[in-house]
Amino acid sequence: MAFAAFSNDKPAKDNSAQRKSGPVVLALLMPGLIYLLLFFMTPLISLVITSLESPDPSGAIGSYFNDVNFSNYATVAVDYLPQILRSFGYAFAATVFALIISYPVAYFIGVKLRSRPLTQRLMLTLVIAPFFISFLLRTIAWKQLLSDDSGFVHLLHSMGALAPTQFFLGTDAAVIFGLTYNFIPFMTLPLFTNLERLDVRLLEAGSDLYASPRHIFTKVTLPLSMPGIISGTLLTFIPIAGDYVNASRDFLGSSKTSMIGTMVEADYLQNLNYPSASALSVLLMGVILALVTLYVRRSGTEDLL
């Protein structure tokens, strides 16, 4: 969807009536689909299976046996409730901020710059430029720029916004800031793709029919850009919910800002508590599948890709 933003071509007329059939299709589909089955579906199933395992009677760390033990989910839901709530809370906040920040930019580039395609493409390149630098380094840059002895924190202290013993890093705000920053391009691109195709004449018609600029926005532009908003929201909310780098102690967070991902990593790679990690992952995946289902119910599958 969003990546089509970079193609300058318009799609050819709807070719659905001219689609071919034949054995070639299988040759084209099979390798990719088999790969998908083996390395995407199977791991998901494997996660579910692992999430139902029980600890080995021997008590050895990291050993479990196959079982149908739903208690892992109960444990995870209770023990990790703070992380779960925090993850979705951060994701919600960051998504909203990203939307508010990105929409005007996407509107500007997609609608106002249509008459200057070169400038348009230049600005679009700048929007995705952050992608070209490792996101870990981007986050570290903010960590330095917002660190305890940075100019930014000094400013907040002198303004009285922060108490002298308080700092910025390690707070919920810092994590949300980092998440918002890192995922702005994910929100901007789908918005841009949608707004770029907005028919300006509809806005002119609204004006012709006595609507004020505010009304034109709320009654014409906003509803028409809804598909872009929804797909941008999905593409932002979902990855943020699973992120844990921004919230990590070594980056913008602290031990008090841990998210679902932090716990999955800890359980899986450090505590070797595979069932717990898997149950948590399955829980997260479940919520996401619910969101995607809602979206598909509303808009169908043709526009997904």
Binding site: S21, V25, P31, V105, F108, V127, I133, T301
Partner: protein
């Protein structure tokens, strides 16, 4: 009512500020690649080019870089081939399960990296496959696949099927039609997909962290180094990659603009 209004400038100024905001960490990273630091690269100590000149004086950084490049190249090749085939099938052919296939290709893009990382790690563990280079590449191909499909699909949709019919009409058999007509016309899309795939693979952290075992990649190196201090050499590499990417993108844009000017309508 004056025609001139402040409102006209609000949007452009805001957008410019937003872009500046987006670029701050990039500028920071590039600047600090010139920092004359010994161990931790957090305080500015002076301008130097040593890190640029002796990028690989720290072997671990370059080893990570080499691994990332290798993994990126291999995953890109496979993901591009598999993905292109899928994209062509989805656009050009009718078959029964297309909704299901579309959905199955969308899900990996919607799956959080922790879930995919943990899942794949679990799978490899269960079948007794030790994490290492092979598992990393397998994982990378997996998450790049959907993005390749999306990118190539957009390009296939712009391809006029009549062109392929014309090829057949002019005595080209199906294989020749593919190699002489379809593939050349799809190439820009395939190249974009490959670049995207490489970029995703190069920058990936979470999935790699779960599945690479002892293999060091560039993002992994940075993550581990984050607690003690990331050396300036890493900044150098990241800056170089960034500049290279910008150059490639700008070159493509300029080339496109030149081509359009050259092939302008003739009388």
């Amino acid at each position: 009512m004056r025609r001139f209004s402040i409102g006209r400038y609000v949007l452009p100024v805001y957008s410019l500020l937003a872009l500046v905001f987006l670029l701050i960490p990039i500028v920071y990273t590039i600047i600090f690649s010139f920092n004359d630091s010994k161990r931790s690269n957090t305080v500015w100590e002076g301008f130097t080019l040593t890190h640029w000149v002796n990028v690989c004086s720290r072997q671990d950084v370059c080893e990570a870089l080499n691994n990332s490049i290798f993994i990126g190249l291999v995953s890109t090749v496979f993901a591009t081939i598999l993905g292109t085939a899928l994209a062509i099938a989805l656009v050009r052919y009718s078959f029964k399960a297309r909704s299901l296939v579309s959905l199955s290709l969308f899900l990996p893009m919607a799956t959080p990296e922790v879930v995919m990382g943990a899942g794949l790690a679990g799978l490899f563990f269960n079948i007794g496959f030790a994490p290492g280079m092979v598992t990393t590449i397998i994982a990378h191909i997996m998450f790049c696949l959907s993005f390749v499909v999306v990118t190539v699909k957009a390009r296939v949709q712009t391809l006029d099927p009549t062109l392929e019919e014309a090829g057949a009409d002019l005595y080209a058999n199906p294989r020749q039609v593919f190699t002489k007509i379809t593939l050349p016309l799809l190439m820009p899309g395939i190249v974009s997909a490959a670049l995207l795939s490489f970029a995703l693979s190069f920058d990936d952290f979470i999935i790699t962290y779960f599945n690479s075992g002892a293999v060091s990649t560039f993002p992994k190196y940075i993550y581990v180094a984050a607690s003690r201090g990331v050396p300036a050499e890493a900044n150098v590499i990241a800056s170089a990659v960034f500049l290279l990417a910008i150059v490639i993108v700008l070159a493509t844009q300029i080339r496109g603009a030149l081509k359009r000017a050259k092939f302008a309508k003739v009388k």
